[in-house]
Symmetry: C2
Subunit: 507 residues, 2 copies
């Protein structure tokens, strides 16, 4: 037993070193998006590359594999350590899994892929700007070819897409995602048809002239109310909002300020707060082990969407904060009732751009991308046919057709950066959140009163207790089952959408 503990500590020590290097990279990335002088970019790239190489070396080096294989058979996954507690056994399994992933891709391959995607992102930006899909197409074709190769190197049982998907969302397959998305698609299209037959809502009052200074002050006020610990985190402004965590004691979130639209900043703050809260709730003493890491991108998104949509687009939240908003912007909001405001921020309109989509149509954007990227990876769709298939998909799902590729298949950066398998995690996040929320409402039935009082403590404790504190000890689905006793499905999410939006669109 003593020796197993000692071997475990050896693994932990190397893994912590790698985690420290990763946390440094996080700061470099944060700085790049916030304060770095523009000419510093080239140097920043070199710094990040050096750190990535060093991190990879730690986690694939002999010292690590030797220590690991003393406690778990790397080939078969069979545990050799028998005396360790369950969480540490789980950690060993995850370290092994990550190790197999890390050694699967040769250094040369990773470098070539980085060179390709770095260039591809530049070309994509140019192509999008000039609405020129042909410019981007050859790069996309190369990225797809390399992603297929990547899937082969990583290995998979059923479908090459699984290997890519699992980089972001482990423990789920393409077929399982498809099985979740299929009823979602039909049901949301139906809901959308119902909505479109109702009286359209007004949300014009959300547009206007909102100074950066005031918007930031409002965001900071929200964070303070939410209990975002300013000794352990901070808020800045960037082009695209993000959350970045160096350690549970050092989280940084950013927001985007749109001077003519008030909700953009508010929803970004709430969204990134959710990401930050997850990271700040991970056990600091497990920093550097899988037990100190978030489960998956989908689980992460469930936490950000929880605060952005389940709380931030709810009526009790705005019962509390509309009066604040009216104080900040009396001209814009003093005549707006809570009912008007609530319905306005939840207005549903099929639109072309994913990041501007409402809660109902958002998932359809994801489903389209999922179907297309699966087809691209398995080779049943060729790059040249992508724009047309994108447009027909939009017509089928949302009833609208982009007039340009810029508003169509060129709108997102994900494929240019080689992120095949990333998109589904956005939709899974919403579904996970709803699954958890059902049980949350049972455990804390007066949550609406709490939110109305600005008392968020017990909500946060609930999330930490049910999710954050476990790190990666359980998969997302295990956590959901453990929490609700029910196995995960799309039902909670659909029921939430239908209930909320048939109430909003009752007339």
């Amino acid at each position: 037993m003593h020796s197993e503990k000692k071997d475990y500590e050896k693994i932990k020590k190397i893994s912590k070193k790698a985690a420290l290097l990763t946390s440094i990279s996080e700061l470099l990335d944060w700085d790049k998006e916030t304060y770095m002088p523009s000419a510093g970019g080239e140097m920043r790239g070199e710094q990040l590359k050096l750190l990535a190489g060093m991190t990879h070396k730690q986690m694939t080096g002999k010292a690590f594999s030797k220590a690991l294989s003393a406690l778990i058979d790397i080939e078969t996954g069979e545990l050799k350590a028998t005396s360790l507690p369950a969480p540490e056994k789980a950690a060993l399994r995850l370290w092994r899994r990550d190790y197999l992933r890390d050694i699967a891709l040769p250094g040369k391959f990773v470098e070539d892929f980085t060179v390709l995607t770095t260039k591809a992102m530049e070309v994509w930006a140019e192509a999008r700007k000039n609405n020129n899909f042909a410019l981007f197409a050859p790069y996309l074709a190369k990225i797809i070819a390399m992603s297929q190769k990547k899937a082969d190197l990583l290995g998979y049982k059923e479908h090459p897409y699984d290997a890519l998907l699992n980089l972001y969302e482990p423990d789920i397959t393409k077929n399982e995602v498809a099985k979740l998305f299929s009823p979602l698609k039909n049901s949301i299209i139906q809901l959308l048809q119902t909505i479109s037959s109702k009286r359209q809502l007004d949300n014009q009052f959300l547009s206007g002239n909102f100074s950066e200074e005031k918007q930031l002050a409002f965001g900071r006020m929200l964070l303070k109310d939410l209990g975002y610990d300013e000794r352990r985190g901070r808020l800045d402004v960037s082009t695209h909002p993000f959350s970045c965590t160096l350690h549970p004691d050092d989280n940084r979130i950013t927001t985007r300020i749109e001077p003519d639209f008030v909700m953009s900043n508010i929803l970004a703050v709430l969204h990134e707060f959710g990401h930050g809260l997850y990271e700040m709730g991970l056990p600091a003493e497990q920093f550097g082990t899988p037990l100190g890491e978030a489960v998956s991108l989908g689980m992460h998104e469930s936490q950000s969407r929880w605060w952005e949509t389940r709380i931030g687009l709810s009526k009790p939240f705005w019962s509390r904060y509309l009066p604040h908003l009216q104080t900040y912007y009396p001209e814009n909001f003093s005549r707006i009732s809570i009912e008007q405001f609530y319905r306005g921020i939840n207005k549903v309109t099929p639109s072309l751009i994913r990041v501007e989509a409402d809660e109902v149509t958002y998932t359809l954007h994801i489903i389209l991308r999922f179907e297309l990227e699966v087809a691209l990876i398995e080779g049943s769709l060729s790059v040249k046919d992508l724009p047309e298939r994108w447009n027909s998909g939009m017509k089928e799902l949302l009833g609208i057709t982009p007039e340009t590729d810029r508003e169509g298949c060129l709108q997102d950066i994900h494929w240019a950066m080689g992120g095949f398998g990333y998109f589904p995690t956005y939709a899974l996040g919403n579904m996970y959140a709803s699954h958890f929320f059902e049980n949350f409402e049972k455990n804390i039935p007066d949550w609406k009163n709490l939110v109305e009082k600005g008392d968020f403590g017990s909500i946060e404790t609930w999330l930490k207790d049910k999710i954050h504190r476990y790190g990666r000890q359980y998969t997302g689905r295990e956590l959901m089952e453990k929490n609700s006793g029910k196995s995960f499905s799309e039902e909670a999410y659909l029921s939430y959408l239908h209930k909320k939006y048939s109430d909003i669109y009752k007339e």
Copy 2:
């Protein structure tokens, strides 16, 4: 020849890796002093320690010493590379010198010293706060003992202090510094006596109520006028102003805002601009080699003091900027003439605190510290007698005596952080600047007109041409001789002080 070039590239590659790691540490330090959430400090310490270890490993590892010893005999310093150009030969000599320094201190020693000084800085802060020298004394004694050991490990010819001094200012000995300081001391004391017999100047108008926002705006306006390239640098606020450079394309300077004193921020901006300009003027293509590094702390200080005192405390500078200041703060300055202003900002008063000292008395503060730290290191002064010797030294040099150790020997952090040998570089910087300035005035005789017009370009080009572009190829004294044809002495500095201040205090 081909093989020498190849070996040189090998050295350069390793050295560049180390420089990248150091540049990352610079960012971590900058962030720590500017934006890091307070709870992130513990993690930051671990990150910095990891990077320092990795950097040290690069520059002392077998790969490096093997590549280096192919081109230079590490034992004797004899060059084996014959075909390389002079700058690269100089680089090899410097790499060797740094290597010998880096391997001289065992890892355990460095770590113990860091642990000791980290604790000592905490204790010092406490001791200073409570004016309790006895609390700090045992830590200081330990630091001195370890510094003596450090000097032995590093090696020296004449005096153990030389080994410590050379960490900050290579190519100069304690005896040489003493020989420079001796006439300085007598002459400045004499000047001070003359000044004290004259009519005292008024500088009350520099105090008042100056908002952070306006002060920052004024600082940014100055930087813009000075041509500080905002694509390659930025200005922030911190408790203690500093300059930090990741690469010639990424420099960051900070300023301190004192809401009741207008000059603090202005002089900090000019001072740190000088440091920044030096680093931004180093040849970027030499990043990672000694040819891309600054000569010494003294040379660095010569550049910061150049802009802070030679330019920033000059009459032509304020002929241009007093009208600006009057626009920013009409109530404070509209009735102040340029003559009044110029004399006010150059008012000389013996005072207790080094960082608040004027240009004339500043050097006396340094001489006191130099004499005391030499005595502490050679053992002719014991820690318990330090407060008394400090006070009698102040009486002798400045004619005033601190009433508390807080305003006396506890005021500076340098000894607590183990920085014996650091202080003289402040005075050397002023002297270097004056030596260069004599020739600068010959080369650019209309500099006063240029400054009055806000045309700083040719001054900056001169500095880059004479100093920055060489990196460490020449020592500071070589650069000065190369530039002026005269060997370096204290004369230029003394002549500057006497001329300037006998004009200011003519009545």
